[in-house]
Structure formats: C-alpha cells, structure tokens
Homo-oligomer: 205 residues x 2
C-alpha cells in the first residue's frame, strides 16, 4: 500500500472512534454517510479512504463495523505496540498516564520520570514514577526509545538534551517550546496553542 498522509491517518483514527462507539452500542454495520455526517466531511471522502485499505466487508447496508475497525488497527500498526516513558509527572503527565486509550492504540506507557521527591516512588495508574536521574538506566533496561515530554517550557530544552543523552530517539513534545535536537532524533510537537489558534482564527472570521 502507498504511504498514508497525515490527514488520512487522522481521519482513520476518527472512523475508528466512531466504529468503537457503534460496536459498543451493538451495531454490526456502519455506513460511510453516517461517519461522514459526524465528521462533517464528504461521503465520497470516507469511501475513498476506506477503499485504500485492504478491507472487504462492504455490503449494501454498510461496512462490517468489526472488520473495518480491525483493518484500521492493522493499517495503523495498533497491534505492534510501542513502549514509552512520560517525562514530567505533573497534571498533564498524570492525565496522559491515566489515558487508557493509549494502550488500545499501540502506545504502552511503562513509567513516568520526575525530579520531585514527593512524586518519585509513587505510582500513577499502576505506572511507577522514577527519579529522572534513572532515565538512562531504564531506557536501556526496558529498551524504550519514545519519551512523552510534559515538563514546563523553561525546562523543556535541558530535559530534551538529557533524554537524548539517555538514548531516547523520539520525543512527543507537549511543552510549548521548540526543541533543538541532534540529527537522528525525531521530535513531534503537539503545539496545543497552534491547534487552538487554527480554531480561534477560523471562528473569528
């Protein structure tokens, strides 16, 4: 299959959310027009996206919900889970550690790291909070390459440097700071304010 664009990946995850909700309600089929209507996109867009997948369960009454759900999971690699650490056990780090959906989507948070002695040694949603100074040891021991960075902007660069030294290769950056990292390290900026401003700009016109 050809490489999937970011926009299509985002839509596939939203079809997946709808399918999960429909299956929970006991429905066995879901139509493209139902999904299109919820996402306020065109029916033909949904059909085009699904036709790209190796999905066969289409009938006159719609897609087989369970099969399409599994096809999306296979396409996006949910079944090939990745281990990650959360750096920063503040409110955002805690929220993400409690976000059990991550595991369904192939992201397994093994532990959190912090500098706060009051947090170290405790656990959040059954995940231990370790001293940040132990990061290098655990990265090696647990073979973890992904760090989810939820520290304040002012510390983000120095913690990112430290994570890179500790052999982290991929950083999902939730801090509102642009990070400078060496070649070979990938950063994915969550950029919440950027997302909000897209929305804000749209609604103020």
């Amino acid at each position: 299959m050809e490489k999937i664009s970011n926009k299509v990946i985002n839509r596939l995850t939203q079809y997946h959310s709808i399918l999960v909700a429909s299956i929970k309600k006991g429905e066995t089929t879901v139509t493209s027009s139902y999904m299109a209507q919820l996402l306020k996109i065109d029916d033909s867009q949904v059909r085009k996206d699904v036709s790209m997948l190796n999905n066969t369960g289409k009938s006159r009454v719609g897609y087989d919900a369970l099969e399409l759900k599994e096809t999306i999971e296979k396409t996006l690699g949910f079944s090939n889970p990745k281990n990650a650490f959360i750096i920063g056990a503040g409110n955002l780090g805690t929220a993400l550690a409690k976000y059990n959906d991550f595991e369904d989507y192939g992201l397994r948070v093994l532990a959190l790291f912090d500098i706060d002695k009051n947090k170290i040694g405790k656990s959040i949603n059954s995940k231990p909070v370790y001293d940040i100074n132990e990061l290098s040891r655990y990265t090696k021991e647990k073979n973890v390459e992904i760090a989810i960075l939820t520290v304040p902007a002012d510390f983000a660069q120095s913690i990112a440097d430290f994570a890179v030294k500790s052999k982290i290769k991929y950083i999902w950056n939730f801090s509102p700071a642009v990070l400078s990292v060496p070649v070979g390290i990938d950063v994915w900026n969550e950029n919440l304010m950027g997302n909000f401003l897209q929305f804000s700009y749209k609604i103020s016109k």
Copy 2:
C-alpha cells in the same frame, strides 16, 4: 490579507515560540535560517510565510525579533482575547487551567465545571470550579461561547449536548470521542491519538 491556512497558522505559532525564547535570551534579531533549522523546514518556507504578513523589520542580520513577534500576534488575533470554560476538572482540565500560556495567546479560561462535589467550590490556578448544573447561568452571565471539553469519552456526548443547550457555540474537544452536534455548533477535535499515530506511523516505516 488572504485567508491563512492551518499549516501556516501552526508554523506562525512555532516562529512565535522561537521569538519569545530568543527575546528572553536578550537577542534582538532572529534569522529565517535559524528558525528553519529548529523546525527542520526550508529556509525559503520561513521567508515566504513572513512575507505574507505586514512585517517590515527585516535587515541583513535578520528579522527584528520584537516586531515580528508582535506582527504574528496581531495576525493571529492574540490581542483580541476570547473567554472560555473548561468542562471537566480532572487531570487534563487541571493541566490546561494551569497552562498560563493560553492567556498570552488570547485564550482566557474563566472557570472550570465539574460534577464532583469535592472539586466544586475550590479553585485551580485562581479559576473557580463550579457545578456543571450552573453552566447555563455562567455562560449567559460571562458571555462565554467556548468550552474546552476534557471529560472521559463515555460522558463526552451527553456533556456536549448539555453544553450546547447551555448556549456554548464552540467546543474544543480533548476527549477521544467523535461528537455529534447540531448545525451552527463548531467542534475542534484535539484527537491526541490521531496525532500520535501520525508520528508512530512515520517512525515505524
């Protein structure tokens, strides 16, 4: 000026982050190549984006940092703040309530709403936590049209219905649920898993 695309808005907020950090370090000018390198994009892209703005402070040594920062703020409407409520005073709602950067970017969170009696009456980062049943009254009283939804997926639809009944017009949805809303109501899905999967898909190829 022509309508700005989502991609450009996202890049402008990232230039803005870099400018803020540079100004803090005492720098007065910032070059396009410096910003391009941090964001791993092309130099010409930065110059093209900036040329779209009504910005004049460009010299041989780079952009005037303070002026470009203010131009971006003016372009994206930071100086025209919008009031919002957070619905759900859990970890994610708390993290967002403590996120003081929102205000710098023109988003003013006035209060949080929850159903938990242990949270109602307290305050988070000087913002009061009100009973969700008071939403309609405060929406009217404070003239608030934006709700930031941070409730669990299972409650998201019913809370969204309630928010719409309470005259909320714009929902920034952090819950991993696709919401069904009436015509005239705008939903902006944060879709954290979709964002992660773009990243995850990219790094697994």
